[in-house]
């Protein structure tokens, strides 16, 4: 056996042991992000940093550089993506400013042989991969929880998000589907909380005097704490308010739980979804067969894991989870 075959054999063995380490170690991945101006996006970038730094130091990939555009504009992000093509990245992970206006730039990237994975703000260009959140399912899961907690049903107050945004429509559709499946519940009022506690508080305070007894409040995240404040101010009994993983919401829940054993659940999408997109891109570069449309699991907090999640959530932040390679492989396998 000469040296060359021995080397080849040892490489082959190394590949068998750690296939992912061998194949993508020379690949460069870039994150194209359109906006960094709120706690969710900041957490998203921090998660990307922690996970990818570790991956780079372990040699899984050669580089994983985040780029954020200075202004939240599609044309600027298109230019940013074209620059990434020139910089020679092998994959681009993108949180898009617009689902359609980047398609030209994304097509250029695909034509240059670059893998494009979009998440959260996904793109419609067929050559790109999409990691979407099943917002409809998120709405349905709230009703499923309420059906077990309040088997007798009751009146619901729905707090919606920002009007005209697709996420709001999808969560709302999920809640409606849930109500149809569980006819013991009835939505007696609906307000727009714009995913902001102060707006939600004002809106709920405005509609409360006209409402009958409320058994539960279904929400979209970022509005549960405001709703609770509005109920307290009106001196009405606190219903079961579904929370949205924000730190202030979890803190309030914890206080109520310690006081009188208040029960609810909390659900939202974790900012760490950026790290899931990173691993998916890495898997595609590795030559794995990955479906173009993937669904990211949302992050749910229940009565028993509240303390743990609250501990891991930054002040003023959002409960987060960072994904590992195994998580990504699970998501990919689930889509097959």
């Amino acid at each position: 056996m000469d040296i060359r075959t021995m080397l080849a054999a040892s490489v082959a063995v190394a590949c068998l042991c750690s296939p992912t380490l061998a194949d993508t170690s020379s690949k460069k991945i870039a994150l194209s992000n359109n906006y960094a101006g709120n706690s969710w996006r900041q957490a998203m970038l921090t998660s990307w940093d922690t996970i990818t730094k570790e991956a780079v130091s372990k040699g899984v990939v050669a580089a994983a550089d985040p780029f954020t555009t200075a202004e939240n504009q599609a044309t600027e992000q298109a230019a940013q993506i074209q620059n990434m093509i020139l910089q020679g990245y092998d994959a681009i992970v993108v949180n898009a400013a617009s689902p359609t206006a980047l398609n030209g730039a994304i097509k250029e990237a695909c034509d240059a042989g670059i893998t494009v994975v979009s998440f959260d703000g996904i793109v419609t260009e067929p050559c790109a991969w999409r990691i979407a959140v099943d917002f409809k399912r998120m709405g349905e899961s709230q009703l499923e929880y309420l059906a077990t907690k309040l088997p007798n049903g009751g009146n619901l107050l729905e707090i919606r998000g920002l009007a005209g945004v697709s996420v709001d429509d999808e969560i709302h559709a999920g809640i409606q589907a849930g109500v149809e499946k569980n006819p013991q519940f009835k939505i007696v009022g609906s307000v727009n909380g714009d995913w902001a506690q102060d707006v939600a508080q004002r809106a709920v305070a405005g509609i409360l005097p006209s409402l009958p007894d409320i058994a539960a409040v279904v929400t979209q995240g970022g509005d549960g704490y405001g709703a609770a404040q509005a109920f307290a101010a009106a001196k009405r009994p606190t219903p079961t308010i579904v929370m949205g993983n924000r730190e202030d919401e979890l803190l309030w829940w914890k206080e109520q739980k310690d006081k009188d054993g208040y029960e609810t659940m909390s659900v939202s999408i974790a900012p760490g979804v950026s790290t899931l997109a990173f691993w998916v891109a890495q898997q595609i570069l590795d030559g794995k067969d990955v479906k173009k449309d993937l669904v990211v699991p949302f992050l749910r907090i229940d009565q028993d894991n509240l303390e743990e999640n609250l501990k891991n959530t930054q002040k003023g932040g959002v409960a987060n989870v960072e994904y590992s390679l195994e998580d990504a492989q699970k998501v990919i396998a689930a889509a097959q």
């Binding site: 620059n83 093509i85 980047l102 398609n103």
Partner: protein, 313 residues
């Protein structure tokens, strides 16, 4: 041989473009190719067209703050009406040009500040764009896509388009009699009037022409992005003004340069890529972009002083 002041005014923008280009090539040798140049500059084509439109308005001493929303509106029309029923799309565009001419007339007759009128119009265009495309979407007309992704031999499309735009507008603004009148209105409104010309006609014509170039900008943008949304070109308002100034134009006095404006638009686009290649953090990028603008303008100011001193000698 005496160099004309117009040439000197073009010198600084051209030199800064060349300098930036050299820096980009040094940092990213990959850009030094047919495809590389196309990727660097193709998004500059709609910006160049919008800059030309802004320059026309500025040549009659006005300023158009609705440029960004108007280009967005045109992009929405191009991605919807123009694609599904071309006749209706063209009709809307003709109407838009007429609206621009009417804005010019109103500003002239009522002696209103153009900034206020166009700022008001920006909400009108923005609203119309949202009505047309409430959620992002639409499809680019096949021919617009074809033009913007064409691969002419030797020189990439982005460069060809820039040269054609610069050439055509140079002819209109600097060589045609309409162009002379237009700059005359900016330079000395009253003397043009005394010479027996209809200033109101010139203003209306200038605004209509600006509307036409803004429409081309919207179509070019959709040709690149393949679809539109109502906020797609909001940045173009400030970019177009910066492009004109960067290219040697001035806010008053009818002093404009079409070739300079195109170079200014290319420089602005390139500055973005340059900063991105430098890996400057996004928090600093807007500031850095501003710094590049200030440096170029300071150079120009120094050159203007030099020019004046030479004249007084």
């Amino acid at each position: 041989m005496k160099i004309s002041s117009g040439t000197i005014r073009l010198l600084i923008p051209a030199a800064s473009l060349a300098l930036l280009l050299a820096a980009v090539f040094y940092m990213q040798p990959r850009a030094m190719s047919y495809n590389g140049l196309n990727l660097l500059f193709n998004l500059a084509v709609p910006i160049a067209l919008a800059t030309i439109a802004q320059m026309l308005i500025m040549s009659v001493n006005d300023l158009d703050l609705s440029m960004g929303t108007f280009v967005s509106f045109c992009a929405c029309v191009a991605a919807t009406m123009l694609q599904t029923s071309p006749m209706l799309g063209i009709l809307i565009f003709v109407g838009a040009i007429a609206a621009y001419a009417a804005i010019g007339v109103v500003i002239h007759v009522r002696e209103l500040p153009s900034i206020v009128v166009t700022l008001g119009m920006s909400f009108v265009w923005g609203g119309l764009a949202v009505l047309l495309l409430p959620s992002p979407g639409g499809t680019a007309p096949a021919w617009a896509r074809w033009v913007m992704t064409a691969k002419p031999p030797l020189v990439p499309m982005a460069i060809v388009a820039s040269i054609v735009i610069a050439g055509v507008t140079h002819f209109i603004v600097m060589r045609s009699s309409f162009g002379v009148l237009m700059r005359g209105v900016g330079g000395n409104n009253r003397s043009v009037q005394r010479a027996g010309w209809s200033v109101i006609g010139v203003r209306a014509g200038t605004y209509a022409l600006a509307g036409f170039f803004a429409i081309l900008s919207g179509i070019a943008l959709v040709g690149l992005t393949t679809s539109a949304d109502a906020n797609i070109a909001l940045r173009y308002t400030l970019l177009s003004i910066a492009g004109v100034i960067l290219g040697g134009g001035q806010f008053v006095g009818g002093k404009v340069s079409p070739i300079g404006a195109v170079i200014g638009a290319l420089t602005l686009t390139l500055a973005g890529s340059f900063l991105s290649f430098m890996r400057i953090s996004p928090d600093w990028q807007i500031g850095a972009q501003g710094a590049i603008l200030i440096v170029v303008l300071a150079l120009r100011l120094a050159l203007n002083r030099l020019e004046k001193r030479e004249k007084s000698l």
